[in-house]
Symmetry: D4
Subunit: 187 residues, 8 copies
Amino acid sequence: MAKTQNKELKAKNSKLQTPLVGIIMGSDSDLKIMQDAALMLKEFAVPFELTIVSAHRTPKRMVKYASTAVERGLKVIIAGAGGAAHLPGMIASLTTLPVIGVPIKSSNSIDGWDSVLSILQMPNGVPVATVALNAAKNAGIIAAQIIGTSDETISKKISDYKIQLEKSVMDKVKSISEEWQNNFDEK
Amino acid sequence: MAKTQNKELKAKNSKLQTPLVGIIMGSDSDLKIMQDAALMLKEFAVPFELTIVSAHRTPKRMVKYASTAVERGLKVIIAGAGGAAHLPGMIASLTTLPVIGVPIKSSNSIDGWDSVLSILQMPNGVPVATVALNAAKNAGIIAAQIIGTSDETISKKISDYKIQLEKSVMDKVKSISEEWQNNFDEK
Amino acid sequence: MAKTQNKELKAKNSKLQTPLVGIIMGSDSDLKIMQDAALMLKEFAVPFELTIVSAHRTPKRMVKYASTAVERGLKVIIAGAGGAAHLPGMIASLTTLPVIGVPIKSSNSIDGWDSVLSILQMPNGVPVATVALNAAKNAGIIAAQIIGTSDETISKKISDYKIQLEKSVMDKVKSISEEWQNNFDEK
Amino acid sequence: MAKTQNKELKAKNSKLQTPLVGIIMGSDSDLKIMQDAALMLKEFAVPFELTIVSAHRTPKRMVKYASTAVERGLKVIIAGAGGAAHLPGMIASLTTLPVIGVPIKSSNSIDGWDSVLSILQMPNGVPVATVALNAAKNAGIIAAQIIGTSDETISKKISDYKIQLEKSVMDKVKSISEEWQNNFDEK
Amino acid sequence: MAKTQNKELKAKNSKLQTPLVGIIMGSDSDLKIMQDAALMLKEFAVPFELTIVSAHRTPKRMVKYASTAVERGLKVIIAGAGGAAHLPGMIASLTTLPVIGVPIKSSNSIDGWDSVLSILQMPNGVPVATVALNAAKNAGIIAAQIIGTSDETISKKISDYKIQLEKSVMDKVKSISEEWQNNFDEK
Amino acid sequence: MAKTQNKELKAKNSKLQTPLVGIIMGSDSDLKIMQDAALMLKEFAVPFELTIVSAHRTPKRMVKYASTAVERGLKVIIAGAGGAAHLPGMIASLTTLPVIGVPIKSSNSIDGWDSVLSILQMPNGVPVATVALNAAKNAGIIAAQIIGTSDETISKKISDYKIQLEKSVMDKVKSISEEWQNNFDEK
Amino acid sequence: MAKTQNKELKAKNSKLQTPLVGIIMGSDSDLKIMQDAALMLKEFAVPFELTIVSAHRTPKRMVKYASTAVERGLKVIIAGAGGAAHLPGMIASLTTLPVIGVPIKSSNSIDGWDSVLSILQMPNGVPVATVALNAAKNAGIIAAQIIGTSDETISKKISDYKIQLEKSVMDKVKSISEEWQNNFDEK
Amino acid sequence: MAKTQNKELKAKNSKLQTPLVGIIMGSDSDLKIMQDAALMLKEFAVPFELTIVSAHRTPKRMVKYASTAVERGLKVIIAGAGGAAHLPGMIASLTTLPVIGVPIKSSNSIDGWDSVLSILQMPNGVPVATVALNAAKNAGIIAAQIIGTSDETISKKISDYKIQLEKSVMDKVKSISEEWQNNFDEK
């Protein structure tokens, strides 16, 4: 099912647009989390690519991915990893692009603390823009916000998305007011 | 089922009494926790209202809710949220009423630590009266205690409630003394 | 020096007003933190008393203090303690009044975590309204807010205090704008 | 089933022996953990009693239990509680007997940290001998060891128990050596 | 001294350029950390503004700052705060711009954990790009990287900066090789 | 100074009484903490011995110390250690006596967490009665309480000590009531 | 099934080769984790033995195991334990061989923190080479790497293993590129 | 002073022996910790080299260092780093040699937790043998133990070192027995 959805997504996506955002992750087991970044970018119509780059099992692939990112046209890289999560920070050391890190609570993680700290606590000079544990969706939004700083079509879509977020809350407000007294909205 | 219970609760509650306590939460997924505050206030016959106010998705609704709380007759606000939980603290910044914060262990929380710390650790000048993780029931009790400082009917009900708490323990004492030696009570 | 300040404070305070707020703490070494609650109540002209009640060294004094609090006219109790901090919770078990707990980072505390958790994590039925680590000042504000729910003079003072808080920020805004570009306020 | 086992246990135990160890806990939901202390004492033939004493819901019962413990013939008290766990420490404040604390990972606990810290971190002068999270069995052993300091029959039983512990390991050693090479024991 | 340096900095900066980056912080006590973001942007020649915006003491100023950020020409906002740090997340809720959060280990923080978690753990839909504790310098670099995605002059400066970082390491390599054997570089 | 005090203490102590309590520690740097246990036992007139036994540097000494403890007349062993603190647990594995563990925040400890957890979290069957971080004084009290279960002279001294603890609080109560209003005690 | 696999493994292994690596663990319940070390060594054709040695239940067996390790021909010892995990550190205190510690998240562990800290935080002079929580496989690899420092056949196998690791990532890269756009590899 | 000591050390060391151990660290500020590894290897007469290799500032130097380590004759690599410490894990991904990681509590670290977790929690397949926080001395010992598995001269020195450790404890035992009663050793 997820597979079908993604295939359809790929079909829609593969217009041979040059990707502006590279989404990478340390393992295919991270895909179920990281695809939220992809779906978010899809919603914002930001072209992206997605693959596996393992800091620990394919270090030279990682060096090449990061080193060629600018020349290949990428504007932002989203990197997700869990446990002793070195991928986002190492990518950041190898490119001048902004790198967004997604700490993943993977099976070998101690409640996510290792993932968060080994992505967030980068030394001065080599930052990773870190999102919440497992929050790949938010990584997708930040990537779109970055592209949106120079592309009004995208920034307009983010603005619409925020309006939608608000509307979905107001729908819930209405729904639960059928059961619970709510003088604030009934006034 | 929960729904039916709440409807009944609303029916009993909606006597057009002015609510003294406002119960708000960041998301409808928090309702299963936060309804314990409502049920407790119902038991103490303290009129309340309950709705959703999201700090992050409806910030202007939040400002309006807090800013109008005094004039609408509220005496206490109970606010529940999880993860980076800003609702209780932001409400506290916008009203002079006492604000009770309920840290919720929501799905995006790291074992509840983020919820607890982002509600509890308010700076000097802008307090939030924080209860235990998921302890919405206790938030309801504190709200009733506050109302009870100037309403003897309510403070009498809290006194009765504490007697009931003690009695329920004594019932258990008796029940397990059928199986386990207990010289203390048999004396 | 602190002593002189407190003596003067006592002189002003000892108008034989019945205290509405009781401030207690486990040890005299907590006084340097807990006096912030007293100074805040002084500023709000809420009459209070302050003494030492140790849960672990004077348990019977603690029982008596809590049990007689209502009849002595107290409306709120502020209790501060550090380490395995049992005072606030035990007071809450012995009175129907709202109890505000101040976790103190005392010399025997593990970075304050023990103080916070042993005050905050009270079971259902017996709440403690907890403030941030060492935030006795905020405990004083919550106590005043509670009194203010039925005393407009006090609630007006809290309102003034919040205006003052805002003003002190705006003074700082002006001060640092002499050195740093600030188009927002210069507009 | 557990019930039957306990009834049988009570039948065996209720020889009207004066209990030497008092086992108490904050709630009947703690019984599934705390009964391990009872079963251990049973195995060592140390007479004990077991009941519920809630620090927060029955504080005066708690004061009476601790204050009369010496005169009732108890030598050791084992107290278990979870969350903001005040029972062991408060009992310790009210008796000169050694008090063994069992931190319980109850439903309202943050992974057991609150239970551990609010029992362990007692101030100087009022100790609680704390065991591992949920380790009621070990509390039973310490109680027996204490009784054993002046009762050679008991200390002999503890000695036998340790031999049994060792033997059970050696049985496992033999069992897994059927599958795994083990030159150490085969020598 | 710091003051003089900053005045000079302001003198250089106040060319009436429209700021592209807004640097805000909850308190003037955060300035000693947050000025590192300003100095970094200065080095990259990215125009910025800097002021105090307190979520808890000036909530309406905060709403206005965030709501007008786009129209005032800002492309990125850097927000620093400590303890229950709500400023970055609330700004993010009120603007479509990318928001970079700097957790500050302020005097009321529990070793920085509260600052980190209350900035990082934002819910889906409202991200904050978080940097390491106190790492305002890295926030400045990310802001420049974001501007650099559509401004080659800036991205070139970031590239130069990375080369400089590497060079400073190689200088240290040379320096310590005078005292320690180093066959790798001597080869 | 400490040295002189201890020498005097030894002089008083070395009446060739058989020690009932053995105090051991992993390193002489732990002595400044562990001497509190000795001073407490001195106050209770419980004969003790004190030496260094390192689990990691003198493992065979440790085996011998624990194995011969019963025959040498010891009734209780107090063991203090820091970091990966194995001494208390290993002693417990080698004797049937009750073992009291003192977690020490030594220079190689991560804020004391390692010391606490590696002493407290013993497996079922091999308990260590653990006290608070650095709380050697409390270890001394528990040892005396254990001896006191079969020695009324000692248990009387503990009772006197508790009265003294209470009295010292009441002295402080009186002292601070000169400066702060205290209606509770003035009644 | 696991049993059959292990028997087969033993059959293959029991060529009466002298084991170079000793794998020990505190309890047979640790075997499901620790067998990963064995399987890894099997893959690298490093002869090993595996048994149970409990620090707390069989301390004298532990002393003997460690003390005879060198003379029995072992080159490395892998020790796994959970909770207050003393086995690896105690083995290290009793042998000159390198000791690899595997922290196990056993049933009595607080999320693994106790296991990690009580193995990792060894004092100066007595190291344990610690791997990630439950990472027995990595312990097997380190053991093989150590043997490989003087055995080229083994080091060649490790080299092949790393190539295999990389290849397995590249297979996944190919597999997910059927669904997701990937310009990096398609170039 | 330290400088002079190191120069002398270099003088002794630079006999053009091929280093067997490479000691690297992320920054020269780590040298004050990491030199303990060097001094330990010096004591064991294991030839080593020492330099700075920054994962984040000199990633390509890091790749080259690790990739050429085997051919340059190294047998073990010791890598120290703090904060989001990626150096040890990345080196491990790029070589078949055993890699020992030293977590350093550097100025940008959150009490060392980030350093420990980002070095220790490596995924299956790519281990780092981790020592305690700041325990570079222990890293030196493990490196010597590894060399010692195939070099009896070295393993003999380690054996002597352990005897020396024990002797230094026994000296302390004697020293404090002048002040404190010690029946164990006096027997």
